[in-house]
Symmetry: C2
Subunit: 386 residues, 2 copies
Amino acid sequence: MRRVAMVGAGMTQFGELFHLGMKDMLPMAISEAIDSVDKGFERTDIQAVWFGNLIPSDGFSTGIVADYCGLMDVPISRVENACATGNDAVRHGFMAIAGGHYDVVLVVGADKVRETPSSTTFWEWAALTRDSAWDFPLGLIAPSNFALHANRWLYESGNTREHLAMVAVKNHHNGVSNPKAQLRNEITIEQVLNAPIIADPFGLYDCCPQSDGAAAVLLVAEHLADKYTDKPVWVRGAGLGLDRVMHAQKTDLTTFPATVKAAKTAYAQAGLTAKDIHVAEVHDCFTGVELIDYEDLGFCEKFGAGKMIESGAASIGGRLPTNPSGGLKAKGHPPGATGVAQCLEIYQQLRGEAHNQVEGAVNGLTHNIGGPTAAGAVVVLSSQKG
Amino acid sequence: MRRVAMVGAGMTQFGELFHLGMKDMLPMAISEAIDSVDKGFERTDIQAVWFGNLIPSDGFSTGIVADYCGLMDVPISRVENACATGNDAVRHGFMAIAGGHYDVVLVVGADKVRETPSSTTFWEWAALTRDSAWDFPLGLIAPSNFALHANRWLYESGNTREHLAMVAVKNHHNGVSNPKAQLRNEITIEQVLNAPIIADPFGLYDCCPQSDGAAAVLLVAEHLADKYTDKPVWVRGAGLGLDRVMHAQKTDLTTFPATVKAAKTAYAQAGLTAKDIHVAEVHDCFTGVELIDYEDLGFCEKFGAGKMIESGAASIGGRLPTNPSGGLKAKGHPPGATGVAQCLEIYQQLRGEAHNQVEGAVNGLTHNIGGPTAAGAVVVLSSQKG
């Protein structure tokens, strides 16, 4: 396998971008990624593209990338894996270069969740990301779906809603410093606990916003890294795991097996373990999900996530800062872009250029858990080639 | 690059399968593919899956494959590229094995176009496969979209509607012998010419049906081919090409540049040319499209497709039989499955096991053109390792 270097990254603002379509956001993110490359990068250097996109809201996805982003002469495929789409798209770019098929690959992710096609409602899209015959009619859309897990986790672990609230407070705090974040206001534990309940135990501030946005990263084969930068970030591993689609068939709601499988693959490929990770962007679509992520990713012992967030270990300056970008919770969550934007944050962290810089970070991790907690994707990045 | 062998293939009936959901069709196609392997195949041999699916009509696509097909412990990604989805999914499986990532890969494709989710109409899905801001509101759905090309091709080439009709007659004739085909009746030139016009120059019999169905193929690395069969079929190349998404920006309507780009890559990887191909399954969503395909794939000279179909060269027994399965026109067209089922047909042809066997066929080709003629995918297969 060839080693794979990340040499550029860009993203749009995440938010309610009613004034921008896919045809606007995609060129913006791609151009920013190209312009970010230290020693220059020509659009014509790109040999293949993977596009992470949950909702083709402006029509035929790959054709729009080709036509509106000056990429007419390269293969472009759409990858979709619910909210794990972004990191799975990065996994495809990684595999294509590692396997020797291409030397320079663009991975771009985008979605407009705040504005689906005029004739299609949010509810229909929600149905497409879970079992639409059984679970969806029962009301198992995202908040209630993840609430089942969080409630059982609270019950079995002895942790409390205060621990959930600490995630929201931390990620809002981090988001304030990130100019691309959707929600840039500090909040307090009391505000989180007293907010209207959306799906018990999640109140309003336990939930991430729905967002529009795009993000892009540029990957190159090892022998080209020096051409583009003196500070490449190495994609050391990329794993994808699945789990049952129906909640009735999940035997343990306190874990996401899809995450565990994805992490196992990514760590093994990277030759690293959870103990080696210095900074992480994890899937915090709801506060309780970030806490379960800590355990599934090996950041702490089982049911130890409450103690981890309480101790400050997950904050900037702590043992393993998580979601320094603000996370889905504050930065926003356009599903196809989310994982790609996580990679951008870790790229900047490992180059020492992040807004909330984690000092001395060498190894980083990105993580999505998607659909009915049925798809997990993990990417391990490092400033060391390994 | 490692060589890649196809060692099994299966498919459901194509048709109006109102009694079957995705959760029925997927296990049926996958089980038939597994059972087709000469020397036996265990489901647990599968290490990764690519799922070609245009419309996630029963909900979260990859989770349904994992949960309902006994594939919980392997990565599963959805690939979508409009009507080129099937062959692009095969391309992903091919690249993953050739690049050394996995040794045994399942590629499955499925769609239910006759029955989209209850709250979503066909028109919404049609919008998602073209430019939904400009072309779709102008009425450029599939028939009118391809009719623009066929009309200009007829005008410039001097060919006639009779040539288009010959494609329909040939493919219906081939479909009669295929028990999995949706339309199994002979038709005449007169019936085609006298049928109601759908989008000039296409009458009813110039158009393929909309279909439900699933198809699956099993790919393995070279060193495992002998374990599974004494008659492997080698995936020698897989190309993907894009083109502009809006018709106003296409400079020549008599060709599909996406096909030309895809074919160039696939032929080069295979070390073969159009002259080496003995049997082909090409995209005949409308009769005129098959004729343009002949030219784009190099099967005949520019504007020579009328002469080719008229001469019998494309019929069983001719120089280069095309769509021996009945093609999209008679076999049916569930987009995600279509390209995968084309590979099944060529797999059986090159093993000497097809319903309409092309005697002595060694090299075969599959082809899709999708979306607003903006995505082309070509796979080259051979009974010779090369």
